[in-house]
């Protein structure tokens, strides 16, 4: 490889740009989440299709027999849309999970989540309307919700064993 080749490699590298941080559907999803937090009741929040998806996802995960049923310390890991949306979305999940049997999202544990990682590596949620295909998947360090560029992850599962 000579200087000519190297220049070619660098030309490629320096033309690369990061993907756009938040495609419109993900922004809408996060905006819904934010609006949901400001809603006086969960019923109003649930009127949004995106929130309905989030609620159904939460319900599915909190259902008896699901490996993540014991609950977890829910937190936002990342949202390329920015910190305020991240905080809103994290709080949203806490709100959503309370009615579905996670006794206290701040303190309960999810040991089964780690044990289940090998058995259930990924749960795909069907596409809904114009939303990008939302995905829920188990990771080694938690549980991830994703819709477009917005991503929510369960952090720091506490092992009860």
């Amino acid at each position: 490889m000579d200087e000519h080749d190297l220049a070619r490699w660098r030309a490629h590298y320096e033309r690369i740009e990061a993907p756009a941080p938040a495609p419109p559907p993900a922004v809408d999803w996060a905006r819904d989440a934010f609006e949901g937090l400001r809603a006086p009741s969960l019923e109003r929040a649930s009127s949004s299709p995106s929130l309905a998806w989030a609620r159904e996802t939460a319900e599915r995960i909190a259902a008896p027999g699901h490996p993540a049923t014991p609950g977890a310390r829910w937190a936002i890991v990342t949202s390329l849309a920015g910190a305020s949306l991240a905080a809103a979305a994290a709080a949203l999940l806490i709100v959503l999970l309370r009615p579905f049997g996670a006794p206290d999202p701040q303190t309960t544990s999810v040991a089964a989540l780690q044990r289940a990682t090998d058995d259930v590596p990924r749960i795909e949620v069907p596409e809904r309307g114009s939303d990008p295909t939302p995905v829920v998947r188990l990771r080694a360090d938690g549980l991830e919700f994703r819709s477009g560029a917005v991503r929510l992850v369960v952090l720091d599962p506490i092992d009860e064993d």
Partner: protein
């Protein structure tokens, strides 16, 4: 390669300056993504890793020693995250096993590539011909223009080892690409 402006921006962001935080995020999105793409040689994985890396950097900005340059610290965070992802992802390891074929190392002429996304795909395919260590060295030294001493400190190897690894990487890439598209890589020649 020192970047005092980025050092100052990171310091202001760490101090809670929201405007600086936004500027830091915009300034770092693409460099972080490029590194992730180079280290992982996979576009989708790089997008995921870049998101996670930005969050990890953001979370740790306040804990960083402000007396030390920002960029080597950032590179270290990104490198470690990408290594963790490689180790933890069996599917990735399976793909790595398939990347020993030199025919993967195709890099078209940049002028033939219309979009940045195509550049990313082409670069990822070509870099996948390298083992992870050689890829790390090649990306940091040849593409990101870091010097061998800085890269040696980051990878915890001697500068001489960096240079030797770089030579191996260049040879391997040259052979892989030359075997596939010899005319493109003749000096001054096009396809």
């Amino acid at each position: 390669m020192a970047d005092p402006a980025l050092d100052r921006l990171a310091a202001r962001a760490a101090d809670g300056d929201d405007e600086a935080l936004g500027a830091w995020f915009e300034a770092e999105r693409t460099p972080v993504y490029r590194l992730c793409l180079g280290f992982l040689a996979h576009v989708q994985d790089a997008e995921d890793a870049a998101q996670e890396a930005l969050l990890r950097l953001h979370d740790n900005l306040c804990d960083r020693d402000p007396q030390r340059p920002y960029t080597p610290w950032r590179n270290s965070v990104v490198l470690n995250l990408c290594r963790d992802r490689r180790r933890s992802d069996q599917r990735r390891r399976d793909r790595e096993a398939d990347r020993d074929h030199p025919s993967d190392g195709v890099l078209p002429d940049p002028s033939d590539v219309a979009e940045a996304a195509e550049c990313a795909q082409a670069l990822a395919r070509a870099l996948s011909a390298l083992p992870p260590r050689e890829r790390e060295v090649f990306v940091l030294v040849d593409l990101d223009r870091r010097d061998a001493t800085e890269v040696g400190a980051l990878l915890e190897i001697k500068p001489g080892t960096v240079r030797a690894t770089l030579a191996l990487a260049r040879t391997r890439l040259g052979e892989a690409i030359g075997a596939v598209l010899p005319r493109r890589y003749a000096r001054g020649g096009g396809a």
